[in-house]
Every structure is written in C-alpha cells, then in structure tokens.
C-alpha cells in the first residue's frame, strides 16, 4: 500500500468550529450529504440528532447490556443451583434442594450487576476509551472550549473524498467561526 501525501505530512483532518448546537447539526448534515463519511462532531453536551447526522446508525450498547444481563441471570441462578444441589446439599426442613423461589433475589441482583457493568464497560470499549492521546486536542480552541461552549465538526484526512483545499472551502461555506487544520 502506498503512503499518501497526508500520511507523510501528518494531517489528521480539518475542523470547523460552531457556536450553537443547531449549526453543528446542520453542518454535519450537509457534510454527510456532500459525501463525507469519515468525520466526527464534538459537543460539550449530548445534542439530539448529531450522531445521526454524521451517519451513526446502530447503537450496540443495548445489545451488550442484554447479553450481560442474561449472563448474570443464568450465571447467578446456576451458581445458586450448583451450590444447593451439587456442592453443598443441605436439607432445610425437608424442602427440596433446588428450592428455586429462594434463589430469585440473588439471581436478580446478579442480573442487574452484570448488566450494569457491561453497559459501562461496553460503552467505554466501543468508544475506545480510555484514550490518552487524540489528535483533535492539538487544536487550541478545541482543547480549551470543546468541553465547555463550542461545537466542532472534523472531517478526517482518511476520508476518500478529502482534499485539503476543497474540503476547507466546503467547511468555510458552512459559516463556521473558524476552520483549523488538525495535526496528527
């Protein structure tokens, strides 16, 4: 595979800065319509419609949580059944060893525990966090304001349609406050 111009020059992408959530949503929409795919939008709080605008389709978190919860449920119940029936059968007042109604509370707790842990671990893993270094922080305005009061749209250099000048011109059309180059 040949090295592209931008690989050598270490450009991660071009970043436009916006003042309001509505601006960044419409900018992201227009960038998507213009054919850009490798891009990301950044905001200091969740903005409705922004992820969809940059082409984020399937949220797998709920599936991960379902799998975690089912694992906890089956695992928890299985553990109790194994303890009471196989490992340490204990006759309490002549009741059956597999007295399943008494296992429900712990089974429920195990379900919640594993579902909750998998939601957090799954979310962080899919977001590839923790991430100690990311190029977007090389933009001074981003590092100072992205988590406070500004909204950013970054079109990445590895997008097939990316062209330093044309993409920059495109971003400038979107009425940003500023367009910056993001070093790798």
């Amino acid at each position: 595979m040949t090295e592209t111009f931008w690989d050598r020059h270490g450009l991660y992408g071009l970043m436009a800065q916006f003042e309001t959530p509505e601006q960044v949503v419409s900018a992201a929409q227009r960038a998507y319509d213009a054919g850009y795919r490798k891009m990301d939008a950044y905001s200091p709080m969740p903005v409705e419609g922004l992820a969809e605008a940059i082409g984020f389709k399937r949220n797998w978190v709920s599936l991960v949580v379902l799998i975690g919860g089912l694992t906890g449920c089956v695992g928890g119940f299985g553990l109790l059944w194994w303890i009471c029936v196989i490992a340490y059968p204990h006759n309490v007042g002549g009741r059956p060893f597999d007295s399943w109604p008494a296992f429900i509370p712990i089974t429920f707790e195990c379900t919640v525990l594993l579902a909750a842990l998998s939601s957090v671990v799954g979310m962080l893993a899919m977001n590839k966090l923790p991430m100690p270094y990311h190029p977007v922080f090389n933009v001074t305005e981003f590092a100072q304001r992205a988590s406070i009061d500004r909204f950013f749209l970054c079109i990445e250099a590895n997008d097939p349609k990316f062209d330093r000048d044309k993409t920059k011109a495109f971003l400038l059309e979107l009425n940003p406050e500023e367009v910056s180059e993001v070093d790798k």
């Binding site: 200091p44 709080m45 969740p46 984020f56 949580v65 579902a115 909750a116 957090v120 009061d149």
Partner: protein
Amino acid sequence: MKTELDEQAIDPGPDKIIAPGFTYTTVTEKIAGVVLKPIQTTPKQWWISLFLAFCAMQGLMAGAFWLLYKGTGVWGIMIPVGWGFAIVNFVWWIGIGHAGTLISAILLLLKQDWRTSINRFAEAMTLFAVAQAGMFPLLHMGRPWLGYWMGPYPNSMGLWPQPRSPLVWDVFAVSTYLTVSLIFWFIGLVPDLATMRDKAKHNWQKVTFGMFALGWRGSARHWARYQMAYLLLGGLATPLVVSVHTVVSFDFAVSMIPGWHTTIFPPYFVAGAIYSGFAMVLTLAIPTRKWFHLEDLITMRHLDACAKLMLGVGLIVAYGYMMEAFMSWYSGNIYEMFMYKNRSTGPYAFFFWMLILCNILIPQSLWSAKVRQNIPRLFFVSIVVNIGMWLERFIIVITSLHRDFLPSSWGMYYPTMWDWAVLTGTIGFFLVLMVLFVRVLPSISIFEVREVLHHLAPHMLDDGKTSPSPAHGD
C-alpha cells in the same frame, strides 16, 4: 480580590429550575469555579464543617479499634437483643442512600428536568451512605477480616453460603447496590471531568482530572453510546433500589419475631428509605447551596419538589405505621397484640411517640408553602425526619426483640458509649466525604445543566447562523 463567584446568587423562586441569564459558558464557570477557585477563598463554614466532621469521625476510629481489640461485647448487644445499633444504623444508612438513586435513576426515566441540579450531589450521598452502611455488618461480625466468608467461593472448608437466607441475599443486594451506584456516579462524572481538565489552571489538576476523564472528547458517536448506557443504567438502578430495601426488610420479615413477621415490610421499608433519603438531600443541599452561592442553580423549585416528595412518601410511611397497628389487632394473635401494646406503652414508649412526632406529625407542616419555601423551617423538618427515621429503625429492631414470646427471656437493651461512638463516627465520616466532595468535584452535573439550558431556549432552535446566539458567553 472579589470575583463573581463570591457574590451572592439570587434564587429565582419556586417556579424556575435555573436562574435566567445563564449561558453554556457562565454555567460552566460557575460550577467548575467552586472546585477550581483558590484554596484561600474556600468559605469559612466549609472549613468549620470539615473540622467538626473530622473530629466526629474519630469516634469511628476509636470505636472500631476498641471493638476489634475487645470484641463485640463492648457494644450493648446481649440476648435477647442481639441486633442492636449495628443493624439500626445499617438500615438507616442504606435508606438514606436510596433517595440518591431515586433522584438520579427514577426521575431520569420520568424525564423530570429538575433532577439535574441535584442528581450528582444525591448520587454522591448514596455512595457515601452505602459505604457507612456496609461498615456495620462488617464490624458486627467482630472479625471483619473474615468477611469474605460470606461470598460464594471454593474453599478448603468445603462450605458454601446458604442462598436461601435473606442475610445472604443482603450481601448480594448491598454489594451490587454499592457497585452500581459507584459506576453510575462515575460515568455521570466523566464528561464533567473532561470539562474540569480543560478548565484547570494548574498542571497537576489537568493531569488528575485528565486521568479520570479517560480522554473524553465529546464525540457525537460517544455521546450516543453514552446516553444509551446511562439510560439503561437508570433503568437497571430503578428496580435495584427497590430490591435493596426489600431485601433488607426480608432480614426482618422472613423471621418469626412478632412485629417483624409481616408482609407490609418491603413497601414500607422502601418508602421509609426514600423518606429519609430526601430528608438527607435537603439537610445537605441547603448549606451547600448557601456556602458556594449556588442558589441560582439549586433553586427553591428543587427544595420545594424535595419537600413535596418527602411529604408524599411520609404519608406512605404513616400508612405503614397504621397498618402495623391494624394488623396486630386484626391478627387476633396475642403476641402481635402484645407487641404493639409494648411498643406504645412499654419501656421504649417514649421513643415510639417521638417517632410518631418526628415522622408523622411535624412533617405535616410541609403541606404549607410557608414551610416548604422557608429555608430554616425546611432545614428543621429535614433534620427531624432524619432523626425520626433513625428512631423508626430503633423501634423496629429493639422493641420487637426485647420482649418476644416467653416472658422468662425478656430483657432490656442499653447502647454503650461505644455504640454511640461508632454511630457518631460514621456520621462524621459521611460528612467528611460529602464536604470534600463538594469542594473537589463538580457537585452539579455541568453537561446536563447545559442540556437544560438548550431545551429552555426555544429561540435557539432557529437556525442560529445569523442571529446572535444566547449561548455566547458575554
């Protein structure tokens, strides 16, 4: 030098969840400013509270040391009352924790936007209260270093815990609750830690906040997964919080003791937990908002809503008390009937009537807006309910145990100074953690307040390309 933060904030009154005029920039400044302002400008009351709480915490140090050195005999527990202060305090602390989860999870699912200013704070309260609660069963064992025996793990003794026992359910319920509360709180903090990282002035602050912010950069894809995870956590925490106090009440209800063996315990315990939790939220929020001038973010609307919820849940608790009385009569069982007579006229009757006063009579004043919207009165009622809920657990545990079926095995329970030392110590420890929390971490969720600002400004929904945006910091 006087900064903007030192100036008095103005409470916008009981209609608004946030004072007018805030922008994304100023709201960040305000909340992060509490954490980032120089140490010299920390309010005097904060230092005094920290000092007093730290002194009180020494009761736990001394009490735990003496207990471990001498054994559980230093406490007042003696047959027939084998469950003394340790269980009373355990249930009380766990209950206090419940309001935090209620505010952050249930109100999240119900889309109550007023929760935003107090949820972070209440979650921290939950976490710290559950930590105190956990201390009591551990200490009550007398040999806390063997606490892991309660867990199911393969061991050389060939023994396993008895999973049909509510006491083992409790181990799972409380440890799950602590874990879920911790991750819920931490995940809620991550975007704000990123804000703190970006706003911090000193390098050590940037590094510390930066490590815990996990490299959060506010990507839209990240937010989408984050919101889904947070919503699901809320959905999981809601049944969890109900299950935890239900399981705690099973510790009592599954036994045969008159006064414990009743089916009303689970709902009545959950209601009592939420009741005491809201009282504690008010007890803590009222001074905090004053010290750090947060009246424009934690407004009268929040205090009023907490007070109304407290009143509502308090009525459920009152219904529980009435049902207990009714059922003891209706059962026709002499032990049950005696239990209620002994409660209301026996040696601990004073505490029973104090309980009725604190939990039922005084809180009825919350029907009046003059009490709900008067800070000193509301603070007073919140303290009264905290005491009342402690008395409730005392009455349930002690009066039921001290006179059961056989008069020959009756006895009295008197707490010793070490019981009091440990109780005082955990209150001190809890307050030390809370006081440190409000100073070193953003005690109001900044990003959620930004969301509220966004939703409150319908004119911002216009395409803001041309018009000057109210989100602009000025």
